[in-house]
């Protein structure tokens, strides 16, 4: 299985990550792209600032890839990239691309991957609003303190 992960300041190009998982035996590529929205619960968002614990985040992305490989052995490729620094409205903050022979495992692995990433990846999001800024955390993790499942 191909596995490539990256934490980067550069804008994310989804097509680069789709190409990354290409494989002659893969009939399906499922991709999730997270994009900065212009509002959060009615408040205008100007931009986001992501901060990472970078070496741990890179390792966490690799573990997500290995966990996907263990759960869906047919998967042929996993590519995950997360941006750090300032991300404007409409820009991608995360791309998860999965290739597999058939669509069911590609789609399921993609959904699993983004869910695990949101719980485990040591990255923090500062939402800069029209009047102030807040640390915006992901929805509560079901209490697990340990390793990624």
């Amino acid at each position: 299985m191909r596995l490539r992960v990256e934490i980067t300041e550069a804008p994310l190009r989804p097509e680069a990550w789709i190409e990354e998982v290409a494989d002659p035996s893969a009939g399906a590529v499922a991709t999730f792209v997270g994009v900065t929205r212009n509002s959060f619960r009615g408040k205008g968002v100007r931009y986001l600032e992501y901060e990472a614990y970078r070496p741990m985040a890179e390792r966490a992305l690799e573990r997500i890839g290995m966990e996907i490989a263990a759960r869906w052995p047919p998967v042929t490729g996993v590519a995950i990239a997360h941006r750090v620094g300032r991300v404007e409205v409409g820009e991608a903050s995360v791309v998860v691309a999965i290739s597999a022979p058939h669509r069911a495992e590609a789609l399921a692995a993609c959904e699993f991957g983004i869910g695990l990433l949101k719980r485990e990846l040591p990255i923090w999001k500062r939402e800069v609003l029209e009047g102030g800024a807040v640390w915006r955390e992901n929805e509560a993790t079901p209490g697990r303190g340990g390793e990624p499942p």
């Binding site: 992501y50 070496p55 741990m56 390792r59 990433l117 949101k118 990255i123 955390e137 390793e147």
Partner: protein, 84 residues
């Protein structure tokens, strides 16, 4: 395995609350991840409100409170994350 001085990495809201990306902390009791958190709570009151919901990473892996820590370990406080 008991006591010692540990450096702890801080990120996101913890970094902001402490006004810096790392703090030193003296641990008197058992040198575990939980012992480091308890010592931080006493020595850095600005961090106290964040600690109950934070996880601890040792050498870039999440650990439980009972996990031993040693001098030279890379210890980090991981407030609730916001990636994605």
């Amino acid at each position: 395995m008991t006591g010692g001085t540990f450096e702890v990495l801080l990120f996101g809201p913890a970094r902001e609350a402490a006004g810096g990306d790392r703090v030193s902390v003296e641990v008197d009791g058992p040198a575990t991840a939980g012992g480091v958190v308890a010592a931080l709570e006493r020595a850095h009151p600005a961090l106290a409100p964040l600690l109950p919901r934070a996880r601890v990473a040792v050498n870039r892996c999440y650990v439980e409170a009972g996990t031993p820590v040693e001098s030279g370990d890379e210890i980090a406080i991981i407030p609730p994350v916001g990636g994605g």
